[in-house]
């Protein structure tokens, strides 16, 4: 059976079970859009900007375990998509981006809407392909999906020139694929796992630190089982929230630059650290030399060998799929007669409780002005902790991470690695389309939301009833906070003047807008908004412009060199 490249593209998406594609048409992808039109298995969501297409596919993927798919045209279509692709790359999100390209005979001639898509995206994709012959298209797309979701996941771009999408060739979709140069390890080394178990059992001040890898490999269950079995304290990174239930007493909260005192101190002072699907990045452990100044044994489980001993030297590296390794670790642990020394652990917990009793997330609430933390606490209460929460980037992101207690994985959707403002709303669209009946909230700021606010239009077109919680402090809050702390209160270009009337704006897009100024109105407004199940509600909360995120470990400092709210 002969099919055109465009038909093959759509057939491959169907074969992969893709239900939603987020995209924007243009000249180079017209044949592909024509084929989309002729079928109804793959639903297309027309965004308003290609960056949003990729973020939506990203949110879709993060909230499920599926590969997100975006479709963009050549030239500006691809360059607009780059921020989204880089966001997915930094957070290892499985994604396939299909881009149109000018016809093969035009490549290199500076044709209209030509850009070297493979070149432009190379540093921020797991892999990419330029398909020069329709004969290679099916195999390439199969490879793309396989690469995107296996091993350490990531975005894969497939660039399809216009003539290739119109070229007729025989079609058969390969059932399986193997790539000789790509063989990700799944099982960890048994000897290393035994060594790890021994270290854990003999630990005096143990600590478990779980990152985004726990979420990506669906390992929350074995991680929780392991931590409970051992009776150890556990922390999650910003990317790992929900990997261990936040309401559990063994959970110390998030660690890192804005982590709790107890999480950061336990991380610093522990003698055995079990790192699971995490990468010791600068926002998590701060200054490496300071972190290394305390001797401790580190066990590191990660699917990517390059993540091990990259910033911090590791004693027991275990390369493998996090869920598989944790399951094997549990088996060894169950068969071991030895148990952790309860008395020694109790002493360690006493120390941890002393740190915890400092209540580092306490903030001074007010009757006069809305405290952003209070909004998140109320959001948590009203959604009973069951919402999918996406966020943009800045102070509101940190407050959402600190005060919304995620008990389940894949509920907290944020751009952790790249820190992409403008991520929240399109990501929320992707989440809502993946979970039509779920409650989805986008916590954002008046700065971030304006970076992809045009997506309110997409939300209208597809009836996406997300709740936008804008913590509007009239400042680029995190920038303002750094300027206050480190730049002598010189608020250089961090004040946002001439903000739009967000209520009117929401209404102009056909949504419901709410303006909330008084702390006493916060709860009622949230209740009212979440009752409007079928409507997008944009909630503009006028929050305290001077509020800062605490605790804070200043950039380049050590985890114990923390600024607490009570210090000021």
């Amino acid at each position: 059976m002969e099919l055109t490249g465009a038909e093959i593209t759509i057939r491959c998406l169907q074969e992969e079970g893709v239900e939603h594609v987020f995209g924007y048409p243009g000249g180079a992808v017209l044949f592909i859009y024509d084929e989309l039109f002729k079928q109804d298995k793959v639903k297309h969501v027309l965004v308003r900007h290609e960056q949003a297409a990729v973020h939506a596919a990203d949110g879709y993927s993060r909230s499920t375990d599926k590969v997100g798919v975006a479709l963009v045209t050549s030239g500006p279509g691809v360059t607009n998509a780059v921020t989204g692709i880089a966001t997915a790359y930094m957070d290892s999100i499985p994604m396939v981006v299909i881009s149109g390209q000018v016809p093969t005979s035009y490549i290199g001639e500076d044709a209209f809407q030509e850009v070297d898509a493979v070149g432009v995206t190379r540093p921020c994709v797991k892999h990419n392909f330029l398909v020069k012959d329709a004969k290679d298209l099916a195999v390439t797309l199969k490879k793309a999906f396989y690469l995107a979701k296996s091993g350490r996941p990531g975005p894969v771009l497939v660039d399809i020139p216009k003539d290739v999408s119109n070229q007729k060739v025989a079609f058969s979709y390969p059932e399986t694929i193997s790539i000789r140069s790509y063989n990700p390890v799944t099982h960890g080394d048994a000897g290393q796992i035994k060594k790890a178990v021994q270290l854990l059992l003999e630990a005096k001040r143990p600590m478990v630190y779980g990152g985004g890898g726990v979420i990506l490999s669906d390992a929350a269950k074995p991680l929780t089982e392991l931590v409970r079995l051992l009776g150890f304290p556990c922390t999650n990174t910003l990317m790992g929230l929900g990997g261990y239930p936040a309401n559990d007493k063994q959970f110390l909260g998030m660690l890192g630059m804005h982590g709790t005192l107890e999480a950061n101190m336990a991380m610093q002072e522990c003698d055995v650290l079990l790192a699971v699907g995490a990468r010791f990045d600068d926002r998590v452990i701060g200054n490496v030399a300071h972190f290394n100044s305390v001797p401790r044994k580190i066990i590191h489980i990660d699917i990517d060998p390059a993540s091990i001993s990259k910033r911090v030297k590791v004693d027991v590296p275990i390369v493998g799929d996090v869920r598989q390794v944790l399951t094997d670790l549990l088996t060894v642990l169950h068969s071991s007669k030895q148990k952790p020394d309860a008395a020694v652990l109790a002493t360690w917990w006493q120390q941890i409780e002393a740190w915890r009793s400092r209540k580092s997330l306490t903030y001074r609430n007010s009757d006069e002005v809305i405290k952003p933390q209070y909004v998140i606490e109320k959001l948590y209460a009203i959604t009973r902790g069951e919402a999918f929460v996406t966020s943009d980037v800045g102070q509101h992101q940190m407050w959402a991470a600190q005060y919304y207690k995620f008990d389940q994985p894949r509920r907290w959707i944020n751009s952790g690695g790249l820190g992409t403002m403008g991520f929240g709303l399109p990501a929320a669209m992707g989440v809502q389309l993946a979970h039509p009946d779920a409650t989805v909230a986008c916590v954002t700021g008046e700065g971030s939301i304006q970076m992809n606010i045009q997506e309110l239009s997409t939300c209208k077109q597809y009836n996406v009833p997300v709740k936008v919680i804008a913590l509007n402090n009239r400042y680029l809050g995190m920038v303002r906070q750094w300027q206050e702390f480190f730049h002598g209160n010189r608020y250089s270009h961090s004040y946002m003047d001439a903000l739009p009337d967000f209520v009117k704006l929401a209404e102009a897009y056909g949504h419901v807008g709410m303006h909330v100024e008084k702390p006493s109105d916060v709860e009622g407004a949230l209740r009212e908004a979440f009752k409007l199940k079928d409507r997008l509600v944009f909630m503009d909360f006028q929050t305290d412009p001077t509020e800062n995120v605490y605790p804070m470990v200043p950039g380049g400092r050590g985890l114990s060199e923390v600024i607490l709210a009570e210090d000021l």
């Binding site: 190379r122 540093p123 330029l130 140069s181 990517d304 390059a306 001993s309």
Partner: protein, 163 residues
Amino acid sequence: MRHIISLLMENEAGALSRVAGLFSARGYNIESLTVAPTEDPTLSRMTIVTRGSDEVIEQINKQLNKLVDVVAVMDLSDGGHLERELMLVKVRAMGQNREELKRMTDIFRGRIIDVSAQTYTLELTGTGSKLDSFLQAIDHDLILETVRTGASGIGRGDRILKL
């Protein structure tokens, strides 16, 4: 420390730029890089000479392995290995210099591969330091042009990098 890393990669468009891009994006140093197809036309063999601390070299090896187009990586410096570089040198060869340059070329086991009334073109192979020595041994003012390939490396004896 100086390391010589050998790799086999898919002989595909763009594979070289993935490797080169990795080095520049992560701030790794490249002293030289050579690449050409092997007896198996689907594979290219690359030799990279780089410098870095043990930690950096470990990362380079891991990051190279992570590239989907890279089939196999071997740090030749981890064991016995040979390395050779080819150099072509065009020199001004007139009068008494003609004889002197011929003699030096013989001493370094090079060959004269092109002769004109005023010039010789010399071909030398060896380690980088041998080629450096040759350039230092002859009169600097006579050198018109030098072309060096960068090092190619191979393991000694049973150290084989093959699919």
